[in-house]
Amino acid sequence: MGLIELAAAKALASSAVFLFITLLMMAAAKRISTCIVLFSLQSAIMASEILSMAWVGKSAEAYAVAALVIVVKVVAIPCALFRIIKDLKASQDVASSTTGVQSVFIMAALILLSFFAVAPYAVTLRLDEDMLAAAVALLLAGAFLMVSRKKALMQVIGLLVLENGIFVAALTTTYGMPLVIEIGIFFDLLMGVFLMGLFVFRIRDTFEHLDVSKLRRLRG
């Protein structure tokens, strides 16, 4: 049993670092499919962290949440996104407005910024500082991805990363909100992604391209 304790403690401590790594790789990614894979990896890390917390805190609710995360974020959403890419046969290029190197540098800066932002709160609230920093970093990274990437699907992925950030924040600070609320949030997230997929198809039909930055008819 000691081994599992050790693994759980280790998972809890080191998951923040893994999250940062996935963010940096996502910043450097050139193709949408790599971003989707990295997103599911991120969710997997998050799920492992919830499992370890559940193991340590012995709460059945946490197990259910972890299962939910795995089903929805690690499996369901990436498959849906892959199917969308296949159906649309759209170009895989990420069409980012900042070059790869710049994106990585910005992402690193955001990670550092999140550490500074979190410092006062972690101390006063006796929280696990690096996980809170990871949450804020995910939040800022999601925002950066949505602002810098032009492709519609990348907007979706950016939003999902941002949602992940918030979820991690909820996770680390209060060991999870009441179950009903968690389920509700997941349901909304799922519906959101589904609708975005629907709209991506609609854009495909009406505009014949997926470059969001070209959607500029409504001005003033």
Binding site: L125, I166, T174, V180, I181
Partner: protein, 484 residues
């Protein structure tokens, strides 16, 4: 039990309408369901008025504030349904844009709105606000034209991002509550938080952080200026009844959510911080919207910007605080909903008859569409805040509160903005109304239903402008007690 009924009726209606094949049957079912829903709302409001607070199960609660907003939502729902009968009969039925889909999505939208008003738990509140976005995104993109799809896409993405920040704010508040000793299971329930609010002062900077995120999050849905960019596109491209619903009901929903948070934070750390933030948003919204209205070219976008301006005024009303300020703000939401829906209905008739909404191409309305121009003129006078109509009363209240709290800068800014708005409205209106008669021979004529809808709106505005009915004043008073 009444609260569950309120939620159940629109959900069932959405499902039933989807199943019936001919659009005529769908319209009839929708109308009856609408009527039942409005009746349920009135019954619920009356029950709340007598009982005070209704609680059913762990997640549904309704108090004075809910009653007030339910009333305006019910009224606008009735008006929109009556209007949509005339509106839909000449819309080409596309794959998705048939009356069947339209009404089922609308009732889904009503279901989510009811969920927002009735949720007792801040988490549930967030979930239902997020679901209103999802339900209305399809409605915004209903016509499947280039503009509608673009507007729908932007609406969906921007609002979801905004709402995500609100979630972060809710979580921060939950954390603050848990950290200052509130039992975690009920840490998000509104009553629990209100009772434990004084103890939240210990973690004051976390409460401030949560209110900032919530203000930015729900502010995006309300349409405060830095986060308003989706609003003109969504309101201009949506079908007219839906843009009326968006402007008159959805903005109030988001405002209701923000009010809930504002009352908790002012209980916890005093109203200085939260009202200060609201004043910042109010000033920026009123100033920017007033200026933008001057240079608008499309009628619906003009109305969308006027909604932003009026939401700014409501934010100022609450920001100034004091019994008169908040009462003025609440009354302003009600008056604005009625006036804005009247304006959107007339905009709908204009688009049907002139085929365009570009104001430079609309001439001679007074002679060719007499009744529509009466509606448009009355609407413009109302939203410009001139005496005979209700908005003058609420603006008068807000200005009185501003001056008695000696906030001269805000009051002067508000009055300059109102003058600029008045100038913009008269400038656009007089160009549209005057000119020779345009013969609109084959255009659809006004149904008696349309005339009654406009008549009801004008009547309500006049009544509220002259004399506040006793019952309505009581409901307003009860809502005020909750926010105090």
């Amino acid at each position: 039990m009444t609260l569950v009924l309120l939620l159940l009726i629109p959900f069932l209606a959405a499902v039933i309408v989807l199943t019936c094949k001919q659009s005529r049957r769908a319209v009839r079912v929708a109308m009856t369901a609408g009527a039942i829903e409005v009746a349920a709302i009135v019954h619920a409001v009356w029950r709340i008025h007598t009982v005070g607070v209704l609680q059913s199960g762990r997640y549904l609660r309704a108090d004075g504030l809910t009653a007030f907003f339910l009333l305006s939502a019910g009224l606008i729902l009735a008006l929109v349904l009556m209007y949509s009968v005339g509106y839909l009969r000449h819309i080409p039925a596309g794959r998705f844009s048939s009356p069947r889909w339209f009404y089922s999505l609308t009732f889904l939208f009503v279901f989510t709105i009811m969920a927002v008003y009735l949720s007792a738990n801040l988490g549930m509140l967030w979930i239902s606000v997020e679901s209103t976005t999802l339900a209305s995104a399809l409605l915004v993109g209903f016509y499947n034209t280039k503009g509608a799809v673009e507007a729908g896409w932007k609406y969906l993405v921007v609002c979801t991002v905004g709402i995500a920040f609100a979630l972060f704010g809710t979580i921060a508040l939950y954390l603050a509550a848990v950290k200052s000793g509130v039992d975690p299971t009920s840490a998000l329930d509104w009553d629990a938080l209100m009772n434990a609010a004084p103890s939240l002062a210990a973690t004051s900077n976390l409460v401030k952080l949560s209110f900032v995120f919530v203000a930015v999050g729900y502010g995006t849905k309300i349409g405060f200026v830095p986060m308003h960019s989706w609003l003109p596109d969504a309101h201009a491209e949506a079908p007219t009844p839906i843009s009326a619903m968006l402007s008159a009901v959805l903005l109030n929903c988001a405002l209701y959510a923000l009010l809930r948070f504002d009352s908790i934070t002012s209980q916890a750390i005093g109203s200085g911080f939260s009202h200060g933030l609201l004043l910042i948003f109010g000033c920026t919204s009123v100033a920017a919207a007033a200026l933008l209205m001057v240079v608008q070219r499309d009628l619906k976008r003009l109305l969308a910007y006027s909604s932003i301006e009026h939401v700014g005024i409501v934010a100022l009303g609450i920001g100034i605080g004091g019994p008169l300020g908040i009462m003025g703000a609440l009354l302003h939401t009600f008056n604005h909903s009625v006036a804005k829906s009247l304006m959107f209905f007339t905009a709908g008739y204009v688009r049907d008859n002139y085929g365009t909404l570009r104001m430079r191409r609309i001439h001679g309305m007074a002679r060719s569409l007499p009744w529509t121009s009466v509606g448009l003129t009355v609407g413009s006078i109302a939203i410009a805040g001139l005496p005979p109509f209700g908005l003058f009363i609420s603006e008068f209240m807000i200005l009185t509160a501003a001056f008695s709290a000696s906030r001269y800068f805000i009051a002067i800014l508000l009055m300059i903005a109102l003058t600029v708005v008045f100038g913009a409205l008269v400038h656009h209106l007089q160009r549209m109304l005057a000119g020779k008669r345009v013969d609109l021979h084959d255009r659809p004529k006004l149904l008696p239903a349309d005339l009654t809808v406009m008549g009801i709106c004008i009547a309500i505005l006049l009544v509220l402008g002259i004399h506040l009915p006793r019952a309505f004043a009581n409901i307003l008073q009860q809502a005020l007690v909750v926010l105090q």
